[in-house]
């Protein structure tokens, strides 16, 4: 004779009505799964922004007026953009109070499907002598090796590796290093020393399919580092007030731009998830009321055979816990697979920066959501479990007939 405990009895009861059990489990799975995806994407964006901002290095970015949105998009998603302003703007900004350091950058867009790589990539010309954004990275990764004019630094998504060659507009470059993944636009960017970039522009007239029409005195953006103790907003306002035709954005404005992009999608996702949770709660509560009603005789017999009130209460609670727990685990597994498989597609479609959060963080979210699923089951079945356990065995058997 095989002995069964409460857990296996609960499991057997669930298997008696497989379609009903699957329907409840599926509802909880969808709720937990969508909440997991929404939470991880949100945390992924925050992780990416903090890594990307650290890499950006500058307190302020100055771009020509009217180009603030494409410039922010370029930083966030790596969508190539080109705009230019006279280089004398840099000296005007460098003289302002509160400005510690400035460095110019020139933006060039690669031709679609350039010889080295598929797709469009963003080429940024930087001045190795004044640069303070990727210079700290260069110091640690190039180990003191000098960066030649045709040595470039590639982002993680370009798929070029150190030592590879790449041809842009007819000029051959060598990949001197590959930046770590940030999940932001930097991953789709190639940093070219300004000397090499000017040479590429000049040579493009003879070597490239399409020459580059960029004047030697034109720049695209100015990275600004402010003095210690200076107020970032004050300095930004001073630049916009005293230098004509420029717009300044801060790292926190990049966050706001991403928040704006995500607001709609995340609002809908969390709204739908909250509705699903409420529906799961009502559904589990309603179905367990029906189950308990339907099985009054069976549960009354259990009591009559000597099962204490506590055992009946625990049986109903175990069934609900098991159902929502299994639903929660399935939801986490399925949504985890979907998230891992389609994270890049989600990132590109939503145009957001994304970097997978740490394993510890993912596990913490999973545990939290599993507790939520179990709590949903416990809360929904509490009333039916209490009512059936309070009923006298005789009354339960009679009412259930």
């Amino acid at each position: 004779m095989k002995e069964i405990d409460l857990f296996s009895l609960a499991l057997q009861n669930l298997r008696r009505k497989p379609y009903r059990s699957v329907a409840i489990g599926l509802c909880v799975a969808v709720m937990v799964g969508s909440l997991f995806i929404a939470t991880i994407v949100l945390r992924g964006v925050q992780t990416s922004l903090s890594v990307g901002q650290a890499r950006l290095g500058a307190d302020l970015v100055v771009v020509p007026t009217g180009y603030e949105t494409p410039a922010q998009e370029a930083f966030i998603t790596g969508q190539p953009t080109t705009f230019y302003m006279p280089d004398q703007v840099e000296s005007q900004i460098a003289e302002l109070h509160g400005v510690a350091q400035t460095s110019t950058q020139v933006y060039v867009q690669t031709l679609t499907n350039a010889k080295c790589c598929i797709g469009e990539f963003f080429l940024i010309g930087f001045d190795p002598e004044t640069d303070f954004t990727i210079a700290p990275w260069l110091a640690t990764h190039l180990k003191g090796k000098p960066l030649g004019p045709l040595d470039v630094i590639a982002g993680d998504r370009i798929l070029l590796r150190e030592g590879d060659g790449a041809t842009f507009y007819g000029t051959n470059f060598r990949i001197a290093g590959v930046l770590e993944k940030t999940g932001m636009g930097i991953d789709r960017t190639i940093y070219v020393p300004i000397e090499g970039l000017r040479q590429m522009i000049a040579d493009s007239y003879g070597l490239a399919e399409q020459p580059l029409a960029i004047n030697p005195d034109e720049i695209s953006s100015i990275m600004v580092s402010i003095e210690a103790g200076a107020d970032i907003i004050d300095v930004a306002e001073r630049i916009e007030g005293q230098v004509e035709g420029v717009h300044v954005f801060t790292a926190s404005q990049l966050n706001q731009a991403v928040a704006r992009q995500m607001q709609g999608v995340m609002g809908i996702t969390f709204g739908v998830t909250a509705t699903l949770w409420l529906m799961s709660l009502l559904l589990v509560g309603l179905i367990f009321s029906l189950i308990v009603n339907e099985r009054q005789r069976e549960l009354g017999l259990l009591r009559a055979m000597g099962a204490p009130r506590r055992a009946v209460f625990r049986l109903v609670m175990s069934e609900a816990g098991l159902l929502t727990g299994l639903g929660g685990v399935s939801g986490l597994v399925i949504s985890g697979v979907i998230l891992m498989s389609f994270s890049r597609l989600i990132q590109l479609r939503l145009r957001i920066p994304y970097l997978l959060p740490s394993t510890v963080e993912i596990i913490a979210v999973e545990v939290g959501l599993l507790i939520l699923a179990l709590f949903t089951g416990a809360l929904a079945s509490l009333q039916p479990a209490l009512s059936i356990s309070r009923l006298e065995p005789y009354a339960a058997i009679r009412q259930g007939e």
């Binding site: 598929i118 798929l159 259990l302 389609f342 890049r344 597609l345 590109l348």
Partner: protein, 142 residues
């Protein structure tokens, strides 16, 4: 009316989803120009075509499982479903690999979707291939 086998219907639905995957999540558009000037589709185009055929086979097998009466015949067909699931997974990875660049359309959507659906097909096939468990006759409550 005869009761249909639920596992067979599920298999047929997954087969249809495999057929629809390249429609919902298209592979790379664009053509490659050869040195002789001839334009040919990228190799992921053929991955998609092959997967649509495999999806069709899975759907047909699923329908056969759904309508067949013999449990042994259904079990044998489920072996075939499991095998087709493996082929669905291997096609975009090794048999007719998708494009090299991970940011191309075929790698962003089509390939992961096909691998997931292949894994589901494999799971359904293996579940249907199992030998039925003997009935449990006696129980006591502890």
């Amino acid at each position: 009316m005869k009761k249909l086998n639920a596992l067979g219907i599920a298999t047929a639905v997954v087969g249809v989803l495999i057929i629809l995957t390249p429609v919902i999540l298209p592979v790379c558009e664009g053509l490659l120009e050869l040195t002789n000037g001839k334009q040919v589709p990228m190799r992921c185009f053929w991955t998609a075509r092959a997967e649509m055929i495999i999806g069709g086979l899975i759907a047909i097998t699923g329908l056969m499982i759904a309508f067949l009466k013999s449990a042994e015949a259904r079990r044998r067909l489920n072996h075939q479903v499991a095998l087709l699931g493996v082929v669905t997974i291997l096609t975009p990875l090794f048999i007719i690999p998708t494009c090299t660049h991970p940011d191309m359309a075929c790698n962003l959507g089509t390939k992961p979707a096909l691998i997931i659906l292949g894994a589901v097909t494999l799971g359904l096939g293996l579940y249907g291939s199992r030998t039925p468990e003997p009935e449990i006759s006696d129980h006591t409550i502890s």
